[in-house]
């Protein structure tokens, strides 16, 4: 179990670094979106109760979350081609447990996402925030849970999907809205009722809470807050639940229809 998992997650990393355009794209895109949206919205962003907050600062945890979303998408989209023609055929025919495919994707995805997060983390002081090591740890923990969740959801969608264009369709109507409605772009507090309801049941909202809170509070403060623990519970439940589903899905082998008599 361990050898196949490590080999498959290592493959994700090697593939990532071997495609320079992917490295540059995945690093530059969140930074660009952050810089452009941040600069553009800052003059008109006046959320009641957070008047002293610039949009660039507000949007920061959302960009980190977006990075996790894209990491999940990129690492699982390859599955589609890989199964029909590619390495995955050989994995399925080998004695290695099929679960290694899920764990390999998740581990590889997390490793890549954490590497990509580094430039963003370095940017923290430039938006005028200072974050203790303890807070940084809890922020990364939130990012990790989100990455696990997105990778598992992506896996569930990509497994058994025939074409990458189908994946893109699902991505734009399902995965992207999960991110948009997490409080990444605008605060949940003043959203209209129906939107607020959608946002509050969105597990990603709670994953974002895990990333946002440590930016402004010391670990001693927020760890005493039951709301923070609630967010941890919901986010972990979502991530582990999807991981379980993915593990169950990958273990199911196509079976011939039952024939009577």
């Amino acid at each position: 179990m361990i050898r196949p998992t490590l080999a498959l997650s290592r493959r994700e990393l090697v593939r990532f670094f071997r495609q320079p355009e992917r490295v540059i794209g995945s690093l530059a895109q969140p930074l660009l979106i952050w810089a452009f949206l941040g600069a553009g919205f800052t003059p008109s962003f006046r959320a009641p109760g957070m008047e002293q907050l610039s949009y660039a600062e507000y949007f920061y945890p959302g960009v980190l979350l977006m990075l996790m979303l894209f990491s999940g998408i990129f690492s699982t989209i390859t599955l589609i081609e890989d199964r029909a023609q590619g390495l995955m055929q050989g994995v399925l025919a080998s004695p290695a447990p099929r679960m290694a495919i899920v764990f390999g994707k998740v581990l590889g995805g997390i490793a890549i996402a954490m590497l990509q997060a580094a430039p963003l983390l370095i940017a923290i002081p430039f938006i005028g925030l200072s974050v203790s090591l303890g807070s940084l740890f809890w922020m990364l923990f939130g990012a990790l849970v989100a990455c696990l969740g997105f990778t598992a959801v992506g896996f569930l969608i990509a497994w058994n999907m025939e074409s990458t264009s189908g994946f893109h369709a699902i991505m734009s109507i399902f995965l992207m809205p999960m991110w948009m409605l997490s409080g990444a772009l605008f605060p949940i507090e003043h959203a209209p009722g129906w939107l607020w309801a959608l946002m509050i049941v969105n597990p990603v909202t709670h994953a974002l809470t895990l990333i946002r809170t440590p930016l402004y509070h010391a670990p001693g403060q927020f760890l005493a807050d039951p709301n923070y623990w609630m967010a941890i519970m919901i986010a972990i439940l979502w991530a582990l639940g999807c991981l379980m589903l993915a593990l169950w899905r990958v273990n199911r082998v196509e079976r011939g229809a039952f024939i009577s008599a």
């Binding site: 050898r3 196949p4 490590l6 080999a7 498959l8 493959r11 090697v14 593939r15 071997r18 495609q19 029909a84 023609q85 590619g86 390495l87 995955m88 055929q89 050989g90 994995v91 399925l92 025919a93 080998s94 004695p95 290695a96 290694a100 082998v253 196509e254 079976r255 011939g256 229809a257 039952f258 024939i259």
Partner: protein
């Protein structure tokens, strides 16, 4: 555990696979009670028209699908109940490439070794043993996408040899290769069979390949039509075949079917006739139907002819069905 001394490598019994079908499609029986056993160390080629169930059988054998019913045992071990033991003995070469083309040859090999739980030192040792079966030396650090079609196929073979399988499954492994590459690949397989005693199960549409096998199976509608050595199969047709190439084989066939005792088959623009007195028949044909005939030839039956004979459209039976 699998039994290393068992005499049959693969035993398939009453294997059925049914595709469920949908709202507009009726369920389709891809394998219909297939029985097949392959002796250890044999070179077995499975052939049959498209849609005969070859791919479904292959999918089940390599663990990508489970049958509706029936059993398969690999070296005495139930493949469906305990797939892991059987798979350890198996090496699978898929029709479509199963290598990551962004990785180097060596990186692909290493992943394969890890999937079979080989340590790094064991991997290096096995690699030394497997590489001479190919022309890949010196290309190990090249990315797979830079390899030629033939070399890429060799890489697939070396990859599956790393875990020293005693049963090789290959799904049309030579499809897309040029004749030289195909010949070289086949020779390698034959040598593997001779020297390592590997049992080979291969699907193929190329009869030149089937002629070199120990055992040939012809599959149609999910059942075995024939299973024998290529020599015996060719002999089954026995007599020579008169092959007539013409525009309207149906008309000509009607003209021929008056004197009975002839077996007639139509395949596209070809009329194939077997029976007594072919020479006399030829004479008559040229006398009366010269304008309709492009070419005429008498040939010795080969495996391909048996295949056409067994799977092709049988005129006599078609007519029988129509008259009902």
């Amino acid at each position: 555990m699998t039994d290393p001394n068992i005499a049959t490598a693969v035993v398939i019994e009453r294997l059925k696979y049914c595709y469920p079908g949908g709202r507009r499609q009726p369920p389709r029986m891809a394998l219909d009670g297939l029985d097949l056993s392959i002796p250890r160390g044999a070179f077995f080629v499975l052939t049959g028209p498209n849609g005969s169930g070859k791919s479904t059988l292959f999918k089940i054998l390599c663990g990508l699908a489970l049958p509706s019913s029936g059993t398969i045992s690999i070296h005495g071990c139930d493949l469906i109940a305990s797939p892991v033991d059987g798979r350890r003995d198996m090496g699978v070469v898929f029709q479509r490439p199963a290598l990551d083309k962004h990785l180097t040859v060596l990186e692909n090999f290493r992943i394969h070794a890890r999937l079979y739980d080989l340590s790094e030192s064991l991997f290096q040792m096995r690699l030394k043993g497997a590489l001479p079966w190919s022309d890949l030396e010196g290309r190990l650090h090249d990315r797979v996408m830079t390899l030629s079609g033939g070399l890429a196929r060799q890489a697939e073979l070396v990859k599956v040899l790393l875990h020293e399988p005693t049963l090789l499954l290959l799904d049309e492994p030579t499809a897309g290769l040029d004749p030289g590459g195909r010949l070289a690949f086949m020779s390698t397989l034959l040598r593997l069979q001779k020297r390592r005693g590997v049992t080979i199960l291969m699907t193929s549409h190329i009869f030149a390949e089937a002629e070199r096998a120990d055992l040939v199976g012809i599959l149609r509608h999910g059942k075995l039509l024939a299973l024998d050595s290529p020599g015996n199969l060719s002999q089954r047709l026995g007599e020579e075949i008169l092959v007539i190439n013409c525009d309207q084989p149906e008309l000509l066939a009607q003209a021929l079917s008056n004197p009975s005792g002839l077996r007639i088959q139509i395949q596209d623009h070809e009329l194939r006739v077997q029976g007594e007195g072919l020479l006399l028949l030829m004479e008559n044909l040229l006398k009366e139907h010269r304008q309709k005939i492009h070419t005429l030839s008498i040939k010795q039956p080969a495996l391909e002819d048996l295949y056409i004979h067994l799977t092709g459209r049988d005129l006599a039976r078609d007519e029988e069905e129509e008259s009902r």
